[in-house]
């Protein structure tokens, strides 16, 4: 390999030699090189094979539009796939060829790229730090705007460095390099990806005005074997000389349909290349060629060579000539870069002089497209591909190995829309999303259909503008920060005492507290018996708590709950249920009346936010005249429930100034006082059927209270219990869990809880829906109890029930399903709750749960299994 580095020129730092590896070969370049320019400088022609055909592919472009030279970067960071033209050469860079398909590392660092997300507000965001963009930025900055300029490149062009520096000195002006605007969204929201190392950045920019100075991409003209290394966009050939001091070939043919490539020819010649000819398809080529031979009215029909261009075949339609050359610098005209404009429905119109699509109305008023992006590109003749009999090696989309012949095949199949052709050929679906191929493909379609240039435009490129790693976009929302877990003030104690946790909504709740040697069943059995025979303690702090305050608080709750709350006495507590407006059970909990104008109600752990929102919605949008105000106090209170026949003794041992006697402190009331020296509101509510006190204290007192209780309760064998035990105990009593025994299709009547639906008060949310024909059916699914015929067999939750055990093949009609199922240490057997069609009429009947491991028979019962008289609640 010979060096193609020019002795001088370019914007690279020749004092900073950078060693890098490509496909296990160590090479050298300069700071300021791209990987592509460094490879070209080292004489590397073939960068990677093509994805489907395995054809050799070299460097065709100098920017994001590169369709062939793909690499995987392995050091000093990992990038699964990127065009070598966009990879900045840094010390220690290691990369290897990829045939257009990335590979995910299966091992290695779990974290992957780390990124941070930042938010910024500006008046003016300019995308593209070229001359036009910086001019717009300077004007905006001068007018007092906060300005941000982002540019995808890793270096500014020499001719704009001064302007950029001047802008950066202005207050509230930022110029970000290596920063790609990935997408433009509604209301001036722009997402920018900054390839900072080691930590990438994603900027969420909110701009009053967005200026797109995104330039234009040169497109190729398609001819036979136009994918050979050595076929390069003319602007890229020029960029390699001028920006990187690299000669992309020694003998060049320039093939063009416009004037812009003449500058490339001059640059190449000035750099020492021989420019064999400028092949200009226009019969009357107009630009000065400065002595370079111009073949006006000629076209390049084919590139020839094994792994690099060696000869170029040209024709004027009558005769053919072969030119010795190792470089074809091709220019098929320029496409304004309009992807960001298109994202919000920005219009395009076809410009016949320039043979391209330029932005036009409609479009959001806050976006301006300026400079070349706005359509200020050279005029070009409408030549898209050079005709030939065999078009099967006329490559339109190199990344998909798709040719003009493939487009012709799609049209033969009757497809006429550019969108259909894209889907048939996959043109435009690979990494560059059709930057070099999209317009060409559309115009090939137009030409083959005879519909004329511009009849159909290219398919849309979609955000992101260039690919970006998932981890970068995930930002900090990873691992523990993906969705923060909520824990109670007592959580630390649970962790220290070996609790096994379950996720409930966002909360971590102790599921059970195994002792050494306990499995879950043993732990739960022990915890259950402790509550039924002695005393248990549970952290109930996760229950949602809402305070409702105001003269109309009682009236408001009457409208929200199915039962009456306004008749509740101060100091008392009432169970309540809320429905959705569709009549289905939404949530349940208890309401305490703290004062005439003040209530506190609880919600399920997972339902707190939903219920508060539900309340606010009705209060604010339907009854704004009600003087009632809702405040979430979930995290202000820690709640410690002490339950069991010895609960009173535990509380007494803790020390309290509250009279705990049944007479002074009856069921479903609360008292305020001190417990263990801590100000507390103690409620006599029970979710287990046992005597229970729920001690509510300020959040920060939660852990001290818990620890004091554990100490004071030692003599009573006070046993911490988790949600599983709570579930067993409540199910024994037939208390439902909203979300487990209900599923959004269940009414209070279905649950056998008609008693909670008041018929005496006024309207409440969901009431009318209960009268709908299907909702009022008497044979709906009812909550029932189930006792498996074998008392040691546990029905799986989620088991479906059938009426007959005839073993017939599916489909079989189902009559219900098991919602809750447990082993009850108190009952000495298994039991379950189920929703069953017309279930309340089926008491005593046997139903069957057909399961892969066999059918389980069970008898329908009332859904209350333990202490149906409620004799135990007072202790």
């Amino acid at each position: 390999m010979t060096s193609m580095r020019l002795p001088q020129g370019g914007a690279v730092d020749r004092d900073a030699v950078v060693a890098f590896r490509f496909d296990d070969t160590t090479l050298h370049g300069f700071a300021g090189d791209s990987l592509a320019s460094a490879l070209l400088a080292n004489g590397v022609d073939v960068v990677a094979p093509s994805p489907l055909l395995g054809r050799p592919r070299g460097v065709m472009a100098a920017g994001v539009e590169e369709p062939g030279a793909f690499v995987e970067v392995t050091e000093p960071y990992f990038d699964a796939i990127a065009p070598a033209t966009t990879v900045e050469l840094v010390e220690g860079l290691a990369a290897r060829a990829r045939a257009g398909v990335g590979r995910l590392p299966m091992a290695g660092d779990r974290a992957g790229p780390s990124s941070e997300h930042r938010n910024v507000h500006v008046e003016t965001l300019v995308v593209g730090a070229g001359r036009t963009g910086l001019r717009a930025a300077a004007a905006a900055s001068g007018g007092g705007d906060r300005v941000m300029v982002v540019d995808e490149g890793f270096a500014l062009r020499a001719d704009v460095r001064q302007a950029a520096a001047a802008l950066s000195d202005a207050p509230d002006a930022t110029v970000l390099l290596r920063a790609t605007a990935l997408g433009v969204y509604d209301d001036g929201y722009v997402v920018v990806h900054e390839r900072a190392r080691p930590r990438e950045r994603v900027w969420h920019v909110r701009a009053r005005r967005v200026v797109l100075a995104t330039g234009a991409h040169e497109r190729p003209i398609v001819f036979r074997d136009n994918d050979l290394p050595g076929v390069m966009l003319a602007s890229a050939a020029r960029a390699y000389v001028e920006r990187f001091g690299v000669l992309p070939g020694r003998r060049a043919v320039v093939f063009t349909n416009n004037d812009s490539a003449y500058g490339c020819a001059a640059t190449l010649r000035a750099a020492g290349a021989e420019v064999v000819a400028i092949v200009d398809c226009r019969p009357a080529a107009s630009a000065p060629a400065d002595g370079i031979p111009v073949l006006a009215g000629w076209t390049v029909t084919a590139a020839q060579g094994a792994s690099r261009v060696a000869r170029v075949r040209v024709t004027d339609g009558a005769s053919e000539r072969d030119l010795d050359a190792d470089l074809v610098a091709v220019s098929g005209g320029w496409n304004p870069v309009v992807g960001l404009w298109r994202a919000l429905g920005g219009g395009l119109r076809y410009d016949e002089d320039r043979s391209c699509f330029v932005p036009g109305p409609p479009g959001p008023p806050w976006i301006e497209v300026v400079g070349r992006a706005g359509g200020d590109v050279p005029a070009a003749a409408p030549l898209w591909f050079v005709p030939a009999d065999d078009l099967s090696r006329h490559f339109v989309d190199l990344q998909r190995d798709a040719t003009v012949a493939d487009i012709a095949e799609a049209l033969d199949a009757g497809l006429r829309s550019a969108e259909h052709v894209k889907r048939y050929t996959y043109i435009g679906t690979s990494i560059d999303q059709g930057r070099t191929s999209g317009v060409v493909a559309a115009e090939v379609v137009n030409q083959l259909l005879g519909s004329g240039p511009g009849a159909q435009g290219p398919t849309n490129a979609r955000p992101p503008y260039t690919p970006v790693s998932f981890a970068t976009l995930a930002g900090r929302a990873r691992g523990r920060l993906f969705d923060p877990a909520r824990t109670t003030p007592i959580h630390r104690w649970h962790v220290e005492h070996g609790a096994v946790f379950e996720n409930v909504g966002q909360w971590k709740r102790p599921w059970y507290f195994p002792r050494p040697g306990d499995d879950m069943e043993a732990a739960v059995a022990r915890e259950c018996l402790a509550v039924r025979t002695g005393a248990g303690i549970m952290d109930a702090s996760t229950l949602g708590k809402v305070e409702v305050v105001g003269p109309d608080a009682a009236e408001f709750l009457d409208r929200m709950y199915t039962n009456k709350m306004s008749s509740l006495a101060v100091g008392s507590i009432r169970y309540g249920m809320m429905l959705g407006v569709d009549g289905m059970v939404l949530d349940d909990g208890v309401a305490m009346r703290l004062g005439e104008d003040r209530f506190l109600f609880t919600t399920t752990t997972g339902g707190a936010a939903r219920v508060l929102d539900h309340c606010e919605e009705w209060l604010q949008t339907e009854w704004p005249h009600l003087r009632a105000y809702c405040t979430s106090v979930t995290e202000q209170w820690a709640t410690v429930a002490v339950a069991g026949p010895r609960a009173r003794a535990v509380l007494a041992a803790l020390g309290t100034d509250i009279d705990l006697s049944v007479e002074a402190f009856p069921w479903m009331t609360f008292r305020e006082g001190n417990v263990a020296g801590i100000p507390a509101r103690v409620a006599r509510v029970s979710f287990s059927g046992e005597l229970a006190f729920e001690v509510n204290v300020a959040g920060w007192h939660g852990l001290p209270l818990w620890e004091a209780a554990m100490e004071a309760g030692r003599a009573e064998g006070l046993t911490p219990y988790g949600t599983e035990t709570m579930h067993v105990l409540r199910a024994e009593k037939g208390y439902v869990i909203v979300g487990q025994d209900t599923d959004g299709t269940v009414t209070p009547h279905d649950l056998g809880m008609s008693w909670i639906v008041s018929t005496k008060k006024g309207d409440f949310v969901g009431r009318r829906s209960l009268r709908r024909p299907d909702t009022a059916r008497r044979d709906r699914r009812h909550l029932v109890g189930l006792l498996p015929d074998d008392p040691q067999t546990l029905l799986p939750e989620g088991a479906q029930l059938v009426a007959e055990e005839d073993g017939s093949a599916p489909p079989v009609a189902m009559v219900g399903h098991v919602t809750s199922s447990y082993r009850s240490p108190s009952l000495g057997r298994t039991f379950a709750l189920a929703l069953v069609d017309g279930g309340r009429e089926l008491t005593g009947r046997t139903l069957y749960a057909p399961l892969p491991e066999g059918t389980i028979a069970a008898t329908v019962t009332e859904p209350v299994f333990y202490d149906p008289e409620g004799a135990r609640r007072d202790g």
């Binding site: 959004g744 479906q800 189902m814």
Partner: protein
């Protein structure tokens, strides 16, 4: 090669006009012609054929729905999928690679088991996998316990999978065309001729077309069309976004879905990861959503698949989905005689394409709901007999 379908010019009159040339509309036309001998049919498409949600979806096919009514229609659809390539004599790249639905908490496990058991009794193949079995079936799923939403297990429908959406549409178009159906692209319906409670034709950008029956199959645009006929429907149109990664070497051999973490993903044969995001909250016809939804989606994907951290996002886009209050479709006649609707498929319409077309065709041909379509009529909103696939997700605790 013969063309896939003729570029038909619309006639002045048809027995049946189908409004919407997406998968459902094309399938309806095909089954009308094949099963009911109704071949004087036009499919009117305002843009290019199958360019709406058909071109924008993540192509997941499964039938493991909870409720009997849903399971019946989706299973009917899946059975049709299984013979569709042969039926249409067209390769639709249907791949039954298995669909995993992950469970992340005890509530998920409970409702997953409920669904698996219901599926089995409805003759829908369904299995419950433990976390270890999930790891065997799909090794890149992170089943470790110390993550925010650990995988506690999954349901597996082995017969579920994916198909190539474009080829499905083209296959139906080709087969319908061969049976005499006119497929008319770039013909937008702008109004309806409704007289004496009966629809008699459509106004289009290509003129007036008379029709004996008019069948809407316009997904997110159904409300707008129905309003032109004076009909209100319980639908809301929302953006639904999806995305693909760059092409990657094979890492994912099945479809993985997670409701709790909001991920559904497969890897196409070409190599890109195809992923759907959550629905955007607001109503929209703009075919675009908000980017924070995508960012959240990718964060969720990495939580489930740490190997995806280095995958690169290539394209994002949005479709317009028409969502019913109970997340189930509406199929059937309307109060306007001769006007039929098939809509409200929300985020799940692709998988229903053959079944939806099949029962819709029968409904149109008979002028009354087919048995499988009957539960999905408009009446359910009045009676309250919803088919609530939403509610059954059991979100509260």
């Amino acid at each position: 090669m013969t063309e896939l379908w003729r570029a038909a010019e619309p006639k002045r009159s048809y027995d049946v006009v189908i409004v919407g040339g997406g998968g459902h509309g094309l399938a309806t036309a095909y089954y009308l012609a094949r099963d009911h001998g109704i071949t004087d049919v036009a499919v009117l498409e305002k843009g290019w054929l199958a360019g709406g949600n058909m071109a924008r979806n993540t192509t997941i096919i499964r039938s493991n729905y909870l409720w009997d009514e849903s399971a019946a229609i989706y299973e009917h659809s899946l059975k049709l999928w299984e013979g569709l390539g042969a039926d249409l004599d067209f390769d639709i790249q249907f791949s039954q690679r298995g669909v995993l639905n992950l469970a992340h908490d005890l509530g998920d496990v409970r409702s997953s088991l409920r669904r698996v058991n219901a599926n089995r009794l409805n003759a829908v193949d369904a299995e419950w996998l433990t976390a270890e079995e999930v790891a065997d079936f799909c090794p890149i799923v992170d089943v470790s316990h110390d993550v925010r939403y650990p995988v506690l297990g999954a349901t597996l429908q082995r017969r579920g999978g994916i198909a190539r959406h474009d080829r499905v549409a083209w296959g139906y178009a080709r087969a319908a065309d061969r049976l005499g159906v006119d497929i008319v692209e770039h013909c937008e319906v702008t109004g309806f001729d409704v007289r004496e409670g009966r629809v008699r034709g459509v106004e289009t950008t290509s003129g007036t077309i008379a029709a004996g029956a008019i069948a809407l199959a316009a997904a997110g645009h159904t409300s707008v069309l129905a309003a032109r006929a004076g009909l209100r429907l319980p639908l809301q149109s929302h953006p639904l976004q999806a995305l693909v990664s760059v092409l990657l070497e094979p890492v994912l051999g099945c479809v993985v879905m997670s409701n709790a973490v909001h991920v559904y993903v497969s890897q196409a044969d070409k190599g890109e990861l195809v992923m759907g995001a959550g629905i955007d909250a607001y109503n929209s016809y703009a075919q675009r959503g908000s980017f924070h939804v995508i960012e959240h989606q990718l964060a969720a994907a990495i939580e489930l698949f740490p190997v995806f951290r280095h995958a690169k996002l290539l394209r994002t886009w949005g479709g317009i989905v028409d969502v019913c209050p109970d997340a189930s479709p509406i199929i059937g006649p309307t109060p306007i005689e001769g006007l039929y609707v098939n809509c409200g498929w929300g985020t799940g319409g692709f998988k229903a394409t053959p079944g939806s077309g099949h029962v819709y065709a029968e409904t149109i041909a008979k002028g009354a709901p087919s048995p499988l379509a009957e539960p999905f009529g408009l009446e359910r909103f009045t009676t309250g007999a919803l088919i609530d696939e939403h509610g059954a997700a059991a979100v509260a605790h």
